[in-house]
């Protein structure tokens, strides 16, 4: 791979007049998932059209490769490229041994193709931006049966009460994970702490580990206690039933419940 890159650098030097110049000051490297410069969207759009017209027949319109041309999304050469400095010589000269003809494209079009390829690479790399497909695949009637039956969801929830309009509040993907286990920050356990003296403090649980416990009472005041054997702690976690249900869901039950909740608009 290194040899290949070095060879291409040599080729690039001999073609310097035709190959786009690199930008004068390289951008500061970034240290996250996308660590290289994100190309200009207008260049990507132009590059997609140029690529599709000239390269798509062999390399596929999405650059993932085809019957006669390799994948360029995961191509070491295309990944090493900066604004056409590596792919430019290949485009201009072709690869006679591998059946690739030369394409006499101007430098700005090569830069646009490079921008398109970088964009395709970054779309594959940026997994946090992947689009989740249709998740509403269940049977809503069966979901309702589960809600009112085996799941015992109706013990705490009502489609015309707290869940009215829930499907308007959250998109389907968010709703799928939130109904399984709602975000704890919004629904905190309630706790009563009883001291050895018999004095009690009640409120919303603020902190709990093996050594300390803290709560906020109804007036907003913060109380913290060291945990020892004489301290009595009663915690009511309204989400305990959600944690318990997680152990038993089948995937179809989960999808059915979501399909039912999606009717609550």
């Amino acid at each position: 791979m290194k040899t290949l890159a070095a060879l291409c650098l040599l080729t690039a030097a001999s073609l310097a007049a035709q190959v786009p110049a690199p930008p004068s000051a390289p951008a500061r490297p970034r240290f996250g998932l996308i660590s290289r410069a994100v190309p200009d969207p207008a260049a990507v759009e132009r590059g997609q059209k140029i690529f599709s017209a000239n390269c798509g027949f062999c390399h596929g319109t999405a650059a993932q490769g085809g019957d006669t041309g390799p994948d360029l999304v995961r191509s070491p050469l295309a990944l090493d490229d900066e604004r056409g400095d590596k792919i430019g010589p290949v485009i201009l000269e072709g690869r006679a041994g591998k059946g690739m003809p030369a394409f006499h494209l101007p430098a700005d079009q090569i830069q646009d193709i490079a921008a398109f390829l970088r964009s395709r690479q970054q779309a594959a790399i940026d997994r946090n931006a992947y689009t989740i497909l249709d998740v509403v695949t269940g049977d809503r009637q069966k979901g309702r049966d589960y809600f009112n039956g085996a799941g015992r969801c109706n013990t705490c929830h009502s489609p015309t009460g707290d869940l009215a309009g829930i499907a308007k509040k959250y998109d389907a993907v968010t709703l799928q994970s939130r109904f399984l286990y709602p975000r704890a920050a919004q629904i905190r356990p309630q706790v009563t702490v009883t001291l050895a003296s018999g004095q009690t403090f009640s409120g919303t649980l603020d902190y709990l580990d093996d050594f300390n416990i803290a709560l906020r009472d109804a007036s907003g005041e913060y109380h913290s206690f060291s945990r020892d054997a004489r301290l009595k702690i009663d915690i009511h976690d309204p989400l305990a039933a959600h944690a318990e249900l997680l152990k038993g869901y089948t995937d179809s039950e989960m999808h059915n419940v979501l399909a039912y909740l999606e009717t609550l608009k």
């Binding site: 090493d80 594959a124 286990y181 093996d210």
Partner: protein
């Protein structure tokens, strides 16, 4: 080999040289005043024979010093994940692009080194390897850097992988004789994994072992085509362990790529998600055991393969134990890789049982689906890179085990997905410290934490103590036989590395990193 030994002798003509350095022979039986390699010794047990701090006096353990990272004008991009080395009274540790030496008695900074990065994901750095007076560490942009331990000056750097191909490196190099064994990381865009041995004097390549086969090689039958295996991932994220008698280096390999979309790589995808034994002189594979055949959940098998000299059915055995990211506890015969035990250490829901080799059989219905499937554990796994510990005195293997639920989505349904090809969305998790009997896989005791989180590193000692962090930011000492809590201190953040220990001038120190601060504890005097 013979030549290598000669040059080793020439390089270290006098024992006196080692007042500042580390003779690789010391790695075979580390003295109690050093912690000379990532796991303290080659076994990966993270058990120390020190007992000056013990169950009868640990309540008098107190802070000796703390060192808050000073990176000069540089930026810190990770918590302390490195386990410091301690040699001749100096601690050496790293962060992405940064390295420090601090006085092991006082926490005073001796030097700081900064690398000018070219990029790469800055997720963490596991630390140094040491050979003589030279230190070695890896950077996110995949350079192996050798520093002079005396003053932190750079001796050389060599590139071990290309950052433009989306590699980023995290492991601590492991030194075996004159081999500096380095691994690579990077799972964003389907690059192939490998392990390399480098020359300690020059950084030149000695051998490379690919974690996936090339066309025509053994293992190729577990992939559909050469392109799939050459883009098949299998990173070497975490340092391995070594048995000098067998001369085998043990390593857990990473998951295959594309990470969550397996339709383009049908087959078991060797040697990803495997525990492998390699000859450290040649890089040749001696045996393998695959923890997750055809993984689609990002459950690498990179967790430390811990060497246990134990007994099975009354016979002494050379064993290897791993608490794997997929939720299974595996015990193997480390002479040949034969499975002795495969037993889940959390309640998982993705396995249909075991094959004839003791390898789990995944349930295809629990592979990522377009509309989501609910799977235990989540992508982060039941265990991960933070070190487990094995205490030979209790015969128990300890791991902070995560029981987590996650929705796994297949986002790329095409024939040839790329990158991850899917996503996961964490739903709920709990964490517990578990003590596992290596003979049976039975969990002898469990300590449930009061909140969820990730797994955290563990140390056990002959002082009948177990040191670890909890998800609430406490550094806690337990009785390793019973799980009873003996001592704790609340730190600035959650423990972020594996605790380590050493003795200097008759005082035992326990050092742990939390966020941006390194803490040294010792007994009140």
């Amino acid at each position: 080999m013979r030549l290598a030994r000669v040059s080793l002798l020439l390089a270290f003509p006098l024992g006196a040289l080692f007042s500042q350095g580390l003779d690789p022979a010391q790695l075979l039986k580390p003295p109690t005043d050093t912690w000379p390699t990532y796991n303290g010794d080659y076994s990966g047990r993270r058990f120390s024979s020190l007992s000056r701090i013990n169950s009868s006096n640990v309540t008098a353990m107190t802070l000796a010093w703390e060192y808050r990272l000073d990176a000069g004008s540089g930026t810190l991009t990770s918590s302390i994940k490195s386990t410091p080395l301690e040699v001749a009274g100096v601690l050496y540790f790293t962060l992405p692009d940064h390295a420090w030496a601090v006085d092991a008695r006082t926490g005073r900074q001796l030097w700081h080194y900064q690398w000018q990065s070219h990029g790469g994901i800055h997720i963490g750095s596991r630390g140094f390897g040491m050979y003589g007076s030279w230190l070695y560490f890896e950077t996110p942009d995949n350079y192996l850097i050798s520093l002079n331990a005396k003053d932190g000056s750079e001796r050389w750097h060599v590139e071990i992988a290309d950052v433009n191909q989306e590699y980023f490196s995290t492991p601590a190099p492991i030194v075996i004789r004159n081999h500096i064994i380095v691994g690579v990381g990077g799972d964003s865009l389907d690059v192939p994994g490998y392990l390399e041995s480098r020359d300690p004097e020059t950084g030149q390549l000695q051998w490379r072992w690919n974690t996936t086969p090339r066309k025509g090689e053994a293992g190729a039958e577990t992939w559909p085509n050469p392109e799939a295996m050459e883009h098949g991932g299998g990173m070497t994220w975490v340092p391995g362990t070594y048995d000098p008698e067998l001369n085998l280096y043990y390593l857990g390999t990473g998951n295959p790529n594309p990470v969550m979309a397996g339709q383009g790589r049908k087959g078991s995808n060797l040697w990803t998600c495997s525990i492998v034994a390699l000859n450290p002189d040649t890089g040749k594979l001696a045996w393998y055991f695959q923890a997750s055949p055809h993984d689609t959940h990002d459950w690498d098998a990179a967790e430390t393969p811990v060497l246990v000299d134990g007994e099975i059915d009354g016979r002494p055995r050379k064993l290897l134990a791993q608490s794997s990211r997929n939720g299974y506890f595996f015990v193997l015969d480390r002479t040949n890789g034969k499975n002795i035990l495969s037993k889940p250490f959390i309640d998982l829901n993705w396995s249909k049982g075991l094959d004839a080799k003791g390898q789990p059989i995944g349930n295809p219905a629990k592979e990522p689906q377009p509309d989501g499937t609910l799977v235990i554990p989540a992508q982060g796994g039941a265990a991960n890179w933070p070190s487990p510990s094995f205490d030979p005195e209790t015969g128990l293997f300890y791991v902070n085990a995560v029981s987590s639920y996650s929705l796994y989505y297949l986002t790329d349904t095409g024939d040839k997905p790329e990158g991850y090809g899917g996503r996961d969305s964490g739903v709920y998790s709990t964490v517990a410290l578990k003590a596992i009997d290596y003979r049976t896989g039975q969990i002898r005791w469990t300590h449930d934490y009061k909140r969820g989180g990730g797994t955290i590193g563990i140390l056990t000692t002959a002082g009948k103590l177990l040191f670890t962090g909890d998800p609430s930011g406490n550094f806690v000492v337990y009785n390793p036989a019973s799980g009873e809590i003996l001592w704790h201190a609340h730190l600035i953040s959650t423990v972020s590395n594996g605790p380590m220990t050493y003795e200097l001038d008759g005082r035992q120190y326990v050092v742990v990193g939390a966020g941006d601060t390194l803490y040294g504890f010792t007994l009140l005097q």
